[in-house]
């Protein structure tokens, strides 16, 4: 019976657990899902295609040199008020410049980032904030109306955007080239691969079949380049229309969903957190709004407006789409508010606003991300539907408008091209949504 039989147990240091954050898991799950990755990369490439549409299709030459000297119309007329009428196009043109700048800035900043933790997140947020701010600021200057641009105060405040603007007389460079060559001058010009504007009528080239980028250029009709996907009755190039239509569709999808997700999240979290009469009121409102079939309601509102711009359609889609999101967020809040961490936060007398927006909301937002992705697909579909009915913005290069032309003329490439574009975009967003849903669902985690 010895007392020294068992040596004292060595004190163990608690093992260092390298935790995986929720989002790291989600990212890993998403990477495993091959279809979702196809969706993700397709969305990214669609976005890039939309942004860099003028590189592929534009009637401005990149480089032009004749007896008078050298000019760069493609670059100098990027923010031209005569050439680019659609504000959406102005924005994407700005993005053409901004994206590479962003990329460079990101590489530079990344090296200086702190390893991990809160400071890293703050740095990233600050950098992103500055970049977005600069783009928005410049865009305000670029898209300001002439009256605002003449205002002396605005001239100072919006200087960078205003400096980029121009308003040069519209020149048909193809015609100018033909004239110069007829006169025996030497002209060197580099045009984009599809040297046509998406919205300028070329009467002689109307209803050309697709040449897929091969074969002879129909110079006898005044053609100056290939029409890979043919032309419509107005002689407008279909491929150019599709590319610029992608800009419209992307914008509609993102902005409309952005509007309604914001409204839905705010109303839903109020209802789910406070309950009581706030909840009754908001839930009633949701029920009322859900009684209107989306397309009926949207068309009714659109019909009372005389000029239908795509911004109107975005706004209408935005203010009619929120009930689903609100309902979802409300449900999530009901689930979350019963959990211990909310009680703990309350017992620490943290202000209610902070509990709602900093504690509960981030946890309730993940399912919203999924519905938002599906929502983009839905918004794109609804907008093309409205345009297809002939009730959209007549000036926007919407895929739906193109399809409507196809329906009216029964030209097969005018039906197939925009239809396939809509189908592809919607599928791709739906794929991404499915993938996100699976990745975010803890039950399916492997």
């Amino acid at each position: 019976v010895s007392a020294a039989a068992t040596p004292p147990a060595p004190r163990l240091e608690p093992p260092v657990v390298v935790g995986t954050s929720y989002w790291a898991i989600v990212r890993r799950q998403l990477r495993k899902n091959r279809l979702a990755m196809v969706g993700l990369w397709s969305v990214v490439s669609l976005f890039l295609l939309a942004t860099y549409a003028p590189v592929i299709a534009s009637d401005r030459p990149f480089y032009w040199s004749d007896a008078e000297g050298v000019r760069w119309p493609w670059f100098s007329e990027m923010f031209d008020r005569i050439q680019v009428r659609q504000p959406v196009d102005l924005f994407f043109n700005l993005l053409m410049i901004a994206l590479p700048v962003f990329a460079v800035a990101w590489v530079l900043v990344r090296r200086r980032l702190r390893p991990r933790g809160r400071w890293r997140a703050r740095q990233i947020r600050a950098t992103a904030g500055v970049m977005v701010g600069v783009v928005v600021w410049t865009f305000l200057g670029i898209s300001a109306s002439d009256a605002v641009a003449a205002n002396p105060v605005a001239k100072v405040l919006l200087a960078p955007g205003l400096a980029l603007r121009s308003a040069q007389p519209d020149v048909d460079w193809h015609e100018r080239r033909a004239e110069a060559e007829k006169a025996g001058q030497r002209v060197t010009a580099v045009f984009p691969p599809v040297p046509y504007h998406y919205d300028k009528t070329r009467a002689r080239e109307s209803v050309l079949r697709p040449d897929w980028g091969f074969g002879d250029i129909r110079t006898d009709l005044g053609g100056v380049g290939h029409h890979p996907l043919g032309t419509d009755p107005g002689g407008k190039d279909v491929l150019a229309g599709l590319l610029f239509g992608a800009r419209i569709s992307m914008t509609i999808g993102v902005i409309a969903v952005g509007i309604y997700v914001t409204i839905g999240v705010i109303l839903g979290s109020l209802a789910g957190f406070f309950l009581g009469w706030v909840d009754v009121l908001i839930s009633r409102l949701v029920e009322i709004m859900l009684c209107f079939p989306t397309l009926f309601f949207v068309l009714t509102i659109v019909s009372v407006f005389e000029t239908r711009t795509i911004f109107l359609i975005m706004a209408v889609l935005g203010i009619t789409g929120w009930p689903q999101t609100a309902r979802l967020v409300r449900g999530e809040f009901l689930k979350e508010r019963a959990l211990d961490y909310v009680t703990a936060a309350r017992s620490m007398a943290i202000p209610q606003r902070r509990i709602i927006f900093r504690h509960v909301l981030p946890n309730a937002l993940t399912p919203v991300l999924v519905t938002a992705t599906f929502g983009v697909a839905g918004a794109i579909l609804t907008e093309s539907g409205i345009s297809f009915l002939g009730l959209g913005d007549p000036d926007a290069a919407s895929w739906g408008t193109l399809l409507l032309k196809g329906r009216q003329t029964n030209l097969e490439w005018l039906i197939l091209a925009p239809g396939a574009a809509i189908f592809f975009t919607v599928t791709v967003f739906n794929l991404l949504g499915e993938g996100l849903r699976d990745a975010l669902d803890p039950k399916l985690r492997r």
Binding site: L295, F296, T300, V302, S303, E306, R407, N410
Partner: protein, 498 residues
């Protein structure tokens, strides 16, 4: 369950009021008025008298000329009216100011007549006097409510005749003929010009002024109200009150394109759309349940994966694209002519037997039905599949299998009934989707249902129909959602509502 149903039925009332209120907001809060652009489309800034007139009638028809909640036009001050007329006459003011003054005068309508008559004596220049006379001719006129094809009551006919007679009188006897008059001539008149034409003009103006005064003296009782009447007008002759009182009476107005009450117009189109939607729903559920069961049973096998991918693609395929493709390749005869291009039935249905008629409708409806159904079919069968998969994994199914129950019975008896409960609730979202989709499908295939009616009415600016129809459709959807909720309670006995 009965208490639940009663409660839901009672809750329909506030929802109904909410629906009407939302639509009222749409009509009222919409910036500008839909008629304005219609009038100014051709001539740009300059609007002709006829266009002004059509705009005025349009606003009157939708009560847009009335104040929203509180009618103070009834006590509009003569000074204000006179000032507005002067602004409208003053060429030195900006076009915008003048337009606003004119629109204000238009909105005051009949109520401004006493003030205009009083202003006749105060007008200084010839130009103002001429303008006042024109104003009177426009504002004193009463309009006939949009006629429908329905038989009118004798007293209504009598009233309309009276109004027409009065309008004729105003046009023939009281309206100043200003043909060939110019602003310079009028100004010359003020300067004391005494050539023959000026004298004639002056005489004409004086004559009409006297005529109007006489006319007003005869009709003055129209504008003399007791205090109670004034209050009644203040409260009831407003957009808000008119809208709700019409609604309570079930009066959705008259379509000015079809010359028919909106309600009966919609009711006459409804059977077609209901047939289409009901068939589509039926098809979607009939096919999606077996399909869902099949894919749940064969989960992750090659054949099932192919079908699931196909369904996923179908779900993303826009119905208007499919419809255009079908019409292009199977409708117009290049290369095939297999489906009818438009319509719900042939034109010669009267010579058919009932059976032939049904066959004819089915033949017409085939393609639209396909386009309307496949999307909801795809999403329903996906939900059915996941619902059944959830049940198949549950303990009691394992128990059943362990007991040696045949697989067929396990699936059809134990699993399916529980597994499809979730898709019953989807009725509430599928129904609005199908109804909404019918607008596109009906207008592509030109099927004269309510979807086509809506599209057509928007194109023709027949707003009574647009608003009325959206309201009816919302009410129908509300009933549909209610039915699906009740059905849910019936199908799933576990659900208890307090």
């Amino acid at each position: 369950v009965r208490a639940y149903i009663v409660k839901r039925l009672l809750l329909m009332v506030p929802t109904l009021i909410g629906i009407s209120f939302v639509l009222w907001l749409v009509v009222t809060a919409a910036p500008g008025d839909p008629g304005a652009g219609q009038a100014s489309m051709e001539t740009g800034r300059r609007q002709t008298g006829a266009q002004n007139e059509s705009r005025r009638i349009f606003r009157a028809q939708f009560n847009l000329d009335k104040p929203v909640f509180w009618n103070d036009y009834v006590s509009v001050a003569p000074d204000e009216v006179f000032e507005a007329v002067r602004v409208e006459a003053d060429a030195s003011r900006s076009p915008r100011q003048r337009r606003e003054a004119r629109e204000r005068l238009d909105d005051w309508g009949n109520y401004a007549v006493p003030a205009l008559i009083a202003s006749l004596d105060r007008a200084s220049g010839a130009e103002e006097r001429v303008l006042l006379l024109h104003r009177l001719a426009a504002n004193a006129r009463r309009t006939v409510p949009t006629a429908s094809r329905e038989r009118l009551k004798p007293e209504e006919i009598e009233r309309n005749r009276e109004i027409f007679r009065e309008t004729r009188e105003i046009e023939d006897k009281l309206t100043l003929d200003t043909h060939g008059w110019t602003a310079e001539r009028l100004r010359a008149l003020d300067g004391g010009a005494s050539d023959a034409a000026s004298v004639a003009m002056r005489a004409a103006i004086d004559e009409k002024t006297a005529a109007w005064k006489a006319w007003y003296a005869r009709h003055a009782d129209r504008w003399t109200w007791s205090a109670a009447e004034t209050w009644k007008i203040r409260l009831t002759d407003t957009r808000f009150f008119k809208y709700w009182s019409n609604l309570v009476r079930g009066d959705l107005g008259v379509s000015h394109v079809h010359r028919e009450p909106v309600l009966s117009l919609i009711v006459s189109r409804l059977p077609i759309s209901l047939t289409l939607s009901a068939l589509s729903l039926l098809l979607a559920y009939l096919i999606s349940v077996p399909l869902g069961v099949w894919s749940a049973v064969r989960h992750r096998r090659p054949g099932e994966q192919a079908v699931s991918t196909l369904l996923f693609m179908l779900y993303s395929l826009p119905s208007f694209f499919t419809a255009s493709l079908l019409l292009r390749y199977f409708g117009i005869g290049e290369p095939w002519r297999l489906i009818p291009v438009e319509g719900f039935e042939s034109t010669d249905t009267f010579s058919m037997t009932t059976w032939e008629h049904v066959k004819d409708v089915l033949w017409h409806v085939m393609a639209p039905l396909f386009c309307l159904t496949y999307a909801s079919l795809a999403s329903l069968s996906r939900y059915a599949k996941s619902g059944i998969l959830n049940v198949i994994r549950s303990d009691y199914v394992r128990t059943a299998r362990a007991k040696g129950v045949e697989e067929r019975w396990v699936i059809w008896k134990h699993t399916v009934r529980n597994g499809i409960i979730p898709i019953v609730t989807l009725l509430g979202t599928t129904l609005p989707a199908i109804v909404g989709g019918s607008i596109i499908i009906e207008s592509v295939f030109r099927i004269p249902g309510i979807g086509y009616l809506l599209w057509d009415s928007i194109q023709q600016r027949d707003y009574n129909v647009v608003i009325g129809e959206t309201m009816i459709v919302a009410i129908l959807t509300m009933v549909g959602i209610l039915l699906s909720d009740i059905l849910y309670a019936v199908v799933d006995p576990r659900i208890r509502y307090e």
